[in-house]
């Protein structure tokens, strides 16, 4: 069954702090979603609501039409992988896999063993004796091999070195292609995962800033470079995210739909047009006043 997640005017208050304010969105279908936000934006809080770790203060979350909180049927279909503290976990790697096998109905044991080999995890070692990177790799193995209809990876790569992260991304995309499911990736390493995601949500200070397909978001960003006067004259009425100047050359990053007639006008004026990466768009869209260089 295809997963569907619906958030309707969801807010979360912890003590006096508004952690999430009035979020509404719908994740429809087995896609790979990216959840991006700066430190403290509320990413993990939102994901912990989806994973039934908490209840929203206001509003409702529905997963396949059901409220997930304290709901076994929904909880067994949602897997939340995050960089948890495992310093007191004395179970062995092998035991962790056996536990997952009992609890996860779609568990693929052969696949789990293949991943254990790829990540070079020692089956007989206790989890708290593993390095942080290996602990994360074990969580990733369990997250992938569980094949839960909703799989959430919240900075699941903590401590993993670049080759291990590369294995993670490779296995994630391969397994998703063969067993499509709803996957939500929350990450700060945007450039590493930009090409994996189909839709992206950006949250900023507890609010949903945007939810769009990666393609359409990328199509909204454009950098324009050329002589100062010309760039200023032609971009005056546009939403400028960032300006930089070097001598007589100015480069601005603009955000918004630009008609092709307008693009041709830029090109005719000899201005250089280029794309903006998802990472840059994210940085400038979530930059707050007083932070600019």
């Amino acid at each position: 069954m295809t997963a569907e997640i619906k958030a309707d005017h969801v807010s979360l208050r912890l003590g006096k702090q508004n952690v999430l304010s009035d979020l509404s969105f719908q994740l429809k279908g087995d896609k790979i979603y990216g959840l991006l936000g700066r430190n403290g934006a509320g990413k993990t809080s939102l994901l912990s609501l989806l994973a039934s770790f908490r209840e929203p203060t206001e509003g409702t979350i529905l997963i396949n039409g059901e409220i997930p909180f304290e709901n076994d049927r929904v909880m067994s279909r949602v897997n939340f992988v995050y960089g948890r503290d495992q310093s007191s976990e004395t179970e062995k790697v092998k035991g962790m896999l056996e536990f997952a096998e009992r609890y996860r109905p779609n568990w693929d044991g052969a696949y789990a063993l293949k991943l254990v080999k790829r990540f070079k995890l020692p089956m007989d070692q206790k989890v708290n004796a593993l390095s942080k990177g290996k602990q994360s790799a074990l969580d990733v193995v369990i997250g992938l091999a569980s094949r839960t209809p909703v799989t959430i990876f919240d900075e699941a790569y903590l401590g993993m070195d670049a080759p291990s992260r590369s294995i993670f991304y490779e296995e994630l995309i391969k397994d998703y292609a063969e067993h499509p499911r709803c996957m939500i990736l929350s990450t700060h390493l945007i450039s590493e995962v930009a090409s994996l995601m189909e839709e992206v949500m950006i949250i900023d200070r507890g609010k949903l800033l945007l939810h769009e397909s990666v393609d359409s978001l990328m199509a909204h960003g454009l950098s324009v470079t050329g002589p100062v006067e010309q760039v200023d004259a032609l971009t005056r009425d546009l939403h400028v995210l960032k300006e930089q100047q070097l001598g007589r050359t100015k480069s601005v990053m603009i955000y918004g739909q630009l008609e092709s007639a307008r693009q041709s006008e830029f090109e005719a004026a000899g201005l250089e047009l280029g794309p903006i990466s998802l990472q840059e768009l994210f940085i400038y869209l979530t930059e707050h006043e007083g932070e600019e260089a």
């Binding site: 490779e170 995309i173 090409s195 189909e198 393609d215």
Partner: protein
């Protein structure tokens, strides 16, 4: 590890271009089978929907065709069509850029033609 898909242009455009190049260079023969979108996705570590979008661009142009339940294949005369298509943008993509650079470096048209003829 392959990370070619980051020259800034949309990834599906780069996938389509990659398949075009394989056809032009002959490593994908006419009527031969094209790797599946899942294979492209795994190889380039991209979302399968993105890979499918790139493949569909070429289906719409009549370069590839789909055999239901079997996969994607290179159409007859695909190479010819691609050569025609690339020739149409050759001036804009390559010659115009070369002329601009030559002007910056004060290389005369005559010198440029000379370079092309001598191949150096």
């Amino acid at each position: 590890m392959h990370e070619p898909m980051n020259d800034g242009r949309p990834i599906f455009v780069q996938i389509a271009e990659h398949i075009e190049n394989e056809i032009l260079e002959g490593s994908l023969a006419e009527l031969g089978q094209v790797p599946s979108t899942n294979q492209f996705a795994a190889f380039y570590k991209i979302n399968p929907a993105t890979a499918a979008k790139g493949v569909n661009v070429l289906v719409n142009e009549g370069i590839l065709f789909k055999k239901r339940g079997i996969g994607m294949f290179v159409a007859e005369h695909a190479r010819e069509k691609l050569i025609e298509k690339r020739k149409r943008t050759f001036f804009k993509d390559y010659v115009a850029a070369m002329l601009r650079e030559a002007e910056k470096l004060d290389i005369t048209k005559k010198a440029l033609i000379h370079m092309i003829e001598d191949g150096q």
